[in-house]
Subunit: 428 residues, 2 copies
C-alpha cells in the first residue's frame, strides 16, 4: 500500500481550507500513520480567484465538482460543499458511479438521501464516510459504529447544535431575552444563512437521524424526527428551570421503544449537575448508552475549521489505511424501516402557567392534571403582579398525550391565563 491516496476536494470554504492545510502541513505524519502518502490532486469551488488562506495553485482545478469527482487522478471525493441536493449530491453520485470513495461533512444530504446513497455506494463497492457531519470533531460516528458494535444501543442523547447551546447558555449567563441573544449570535456569524436550520432544530435533527440509523440498524428517517426549536424558550423558563436545578437544552434523543423508534430534537430540561447540564457555549456533547457499555459521554467542538477538518481527515485516514465499512455500519439492504413512535416514553414534565390569583385556582389545576392521570412532584408559585401568579409544576412521569389532554382541559377552569408552557424533563 505505498501508492498515494489521491483526494479531490469539492468545496474550499472554511472546512475545505482546513483540510488542505492539514494535508499540506502534516504530509509526513499522515504518511507514517497511513503507510502511504495522502495527497490532494484536484480541487473545485465556485470561485477560482477568491482569496484563500491556503495555496491551492499546485492542484488541478475543476469548476464543476461533478467533473472533479470523475477525474482519473482522484481516489476519494471529499465533499464539503453542503446542501441536501444540487452540486453536493451530484458530485457524490458521480464519484460513486466512477468507483470512488466519498468523505462528506454533509448531514442534510445524508439525512434526506442516506439510504439511497448507501445502497448506491455498496453496489459499487465504495464507502461513504461522514464523521464530520455529526457533532463536528467529536468521533461519535466511529464510537457508535465500531467501538459499541457489541452493544444493543439503548439510547442516544445529545446537544448537537452549538449555536442553540450558545444562545441558551448566553441567555442564562447574561440574563438576556432570546431575541437579543439571537441577534448577537447572528452578528457573530454563528447562524446558518437560514437561521431556522439552527434554532428550528433542523440541523441537529439531521444529525440525530444519522445516529439513529447506526444505533438501531434502521433506514435514515429524518421526517420521523419530532422537531421543536428553541424560539419559544423564554428567559423566565431558563431562570425557573435553574431555580429547580435544571438547565434547558435543545436535546436530541433517539431510542427504540416497544411502539417503534422515537426520535426527538426538542428543548428539554436536564439536571444542572449532569454533564449535559454543565455544557456551556458552542460545545457539543453526545451520550451513548448501550446494554454493556452503560454510558459514555463524548464532548468537543461541534463546528469550526480545525475540528471539522480533523473529522474529515479521520475518515480519509481510515480509507487510506484500508478500513472499510458499510455507510451505516451494516449493509444498507439490511437496514430496516422503523415504525415511528412519537413521545412513546413517559417522562416528567415542567409546566409553567399564569394563574389568576384567586382562592381555589391551584386546586382546579391540580384537579385537571389528576383527571388526566398526572401526579405532581413539585409546585412553586412566584412573586407576581396584581392578580396573576406565575406557577411552576414538575410532574411525575407521564405521557405526552396525557399532558396534552390536561392542557386542553385547562381553559375550562377559567383560572389559567395564556397557553401553558410544557417542557419534557429527560433523565440523563
Amino acid at each position: 500500500m505505498s501508492d498515494p491516496l489521491r483526494l479531490g476536494i469539492a468545496g474550499l470554504g472554511t472546512v475545505g481550507q482546513g483540510i488542505v492545510r492539514i494535508v499540506q502541513t502534516h504530509a509526513a505524519l499522515l504518511e507514517a500513520r497511513a503507510g502511504r502518502p495522502v495527497i490532494i490532486t484536484a480541487v473545485s469551488a465556485r470561485s477560482r480567484t477568491k482569496n484563500r488562506e491556503v495555496d491551492v495553485s499546485d492542484y488541478a482545478w475543476e469548476d464543476d465538482p461533478v467533473a472533479l469527482a470523475a477525474r482519473g487522478d482522484v481516489d476519494v471525493l471529499v465533499e464539503v460543499i453542503g446542501g441536501d441536493n444540487g452540486p453536493a449530491k451530484d458530485a457524490t453520485e458521480a464519484a460513486i458511479r466512477a468507483g470512488k470513495d466519498v468523505v462528506t461533512a454533509n448531514k442534510a444530504m445524508l439525512a434526506h438521501h442516506g439510504q439511497a446513497l448507501a445502497e448506491l455506494a455498496e453496489d459499487a463497492g465504495c464507502v461513504i464516510r461522514f464523521e464530520a457531519a455529526v457533532a463536528g470533531g467529536i468521533p461519535v460516528i466511529k464510537a457508535l459504529t465500531e467501538s459499541l458494535a457489541g452493544n444493543e444501543i439503548r439510547r442516544v442523547i445529545g446537544v448537537m447544535n452549538g449555536t442553540c447551546n450558545y444562545i441558551l447558555t448566553r441567555m442564562e449567563s447574561a440574563g438576556l431575552p432570546y431575541e437579543e441573544v439571537f441577534e448577537e449570535a447572528n452578528k457573530l456569524g454563528y447562524l446558518e444563512a437560514d437561521p431556522n436550520l439552527d434554532v428550528g432544530g433542523i440541523d441537529a435533527g439531521h444529525k440525530l437521524a444519522l445516529l439513529s440509523a447506526i444505533a438501531f440498524g434502521t433506514q435514515v428517517d429524518f421526517d420521523a424526527v419530532e422537531l421543536e426549536g428553541i424560539g419559544s424558550i423564554t428567559i423566565e423558563d431558563i431562570r425557573h428551570a435553574a431555580d429547580m436545578g435544571f438547565k434547558i437544552k435543545l436535546l436530541g434523543v433517539a431510542q427504540m421503544t416497544g411502539r417503534g423508534l422515537e426520535q426527538r430534537m426538542t428543548p428539554c430540561l436536564v439536571p444542572g449537575t449532569s454533564p449535559l447540564g454543565q455544557l456551556q457555549g458552542g460545545t457539543n456533547m453526545v451520550v451513548l448508552e448501550g446494554d454493556s457499555i452503560e454510558q459514555i459521554v463524548l464532548r468537543g467542538p461541534g463546528a469550526g475549521m480545525g475540528p471539522t477538518a480533523s473529522a474529515v481527515m479521520g475518515d480519509v485516514m481510515d480509507i487510506a489505511r484500508g478500513l472499510r465499512l458499510p455507510t451505516f455500519g451494516q449493509p444498507a439492504a439490511t437496514l430496516k424501516k422503523a415504525r415511528a413512535a412519537r413521545a412513546a416514553v413517559a417522562a416528567p414534565y415542567y409546566l409553567r402557567m399564569q394563574l389568576l390569583d384567586k382562592p381555589g385556582a391551584l386546586a382546579k389545576v391540580a384537579s385537571v392534571l389528576g383527571d388526566a392521570g398526572i401526579s405532581i412532584d413539585r409546585m412553586r408559585q412566584y412573586d407576581h403582579g396584581e392578580d396573576i401568579a406565575p406557577v411552576l409544576i414538575v410532574t411525575h412521569k407521564t405521557t405526552r398525550s396525557a399532558l396534552d389532554e390536561a392542557i386542553a382541559a385547562l381553559p375550562a377552569t377559567r383560572v389559567v391565563q395564556s397557553e401553558p408552557v410544557a417542557i419534557r424533563i429527560e433523565a440523563v
Copy 2:
C-alpha cells in the same frame, strides 16, 4: 466474508464472562454488523469446575491458554487473564506465532512488552488490539489512533484509575481521611490484590504509556512515566484546594516537549468547574488535544464486566469486519525511542506549609520563593492553633526544578514546620 470469526477466550473472570454473555445474547446483532457470525469455539481458565454466571459447556476446554491460542479452530485469541508476564504473555506469543490475531485487556503486558509484541505481531501479519486496556469502556484507543489521525497530538490528559478517583472524591464528599476511605474501597472490592497498582498510580501509568506511544509515534516506555500515588493526599489538601476552586485528581499527562516526551501520572489540581474537576466516583475521563481538533473529552466507566467486555467486543468486531491496523497506529519499526523529559513544562503549583506564627515569617517564605524565581499568585492563611499557621500558596508558572530548589532552601528560614506539600496545577 461469511465464514464465522472464531474466538478463543483465555480467562473466565468477570471480563471473560462478560464477553461470553455478549456473544451468546447478541449473536444476530453481531452477525448483522460484522457481515459474518462471531462465535466462541474454545475457552480456557484456571478452574473448569468453578461456578460461573455463563454456560461455557458448549465450547472446547483447554487448561492451558497456550494450547488454546494454538488451536486450529481459533482465529482470535481473546486474552483476559491479566499480568505482565506468565500465561497471558505466553498465550499472546503463541497465538501470534500461530498466525492469529489477539484482543487483550492487558495494560501491564503491553506497557512492559508492547514494542516487542507489536513487532512480533506485525512480522506475522497479525494484529493486537487493546481498547479494553485503557479506560475500560471509553473508546480512547480508537479515537486517538483513528479519529485523530489527522492531528499532531498536543497533549493527552486523563483520570484513568477509577479507584483513585473514587477515593479522592469520597474523601471530599464524606470528609474522611485517606486511610479510612482506602479501607472502605478495599471492603467494596475496588482495589487490586496489590493495592499499590491502584493507589501508587502504576495501573494508570501503564495506560498512559500506551496512549503516549500512539499519540506521539514513540515506543512504549513505561519506565519513563513519572509516578506518584495518592497516598500522601490529605483531607486538608482536598479541602484547601476546593476552597481555592480546585479538585485534586490522580492525573495522567503526556506531551511532547522541546526536551523530550513528558509522561506523568501524579496528583494534580484541576479547576473545579472543568470536566475533569467535575468527575465524581469511579468514572474515567480522557482529554485528547490536537492541533486541529482542539480538545475532545471522553467520559465513561473505567472498569466493570459490561464496559470492559464492550471494549473487547469492539476490537473483536473490528477484526471480524476486516479493520486491521498496526498495534500502535503505525508500523512498530517506525516508532521512535523518545527521550524522557521530566517535568519539562512549567506550571503553577499549590504549596501548603505550616508556618510559625511570628512577624516576618511569610515574608521569609516569599523571599525564598522569589530567590528561586517563583512569583506568588495567591496566598491564604488559615485559622490555626497557638503558634502554627497553615499557609497556602498558589504560585505563578514555574518549573519543578525551581520549586525543588525553593523547597530545599525553606528550612533555613527557621519558620517552616514540616515538609511543604507541593502539587502541580494542570491547565485543563
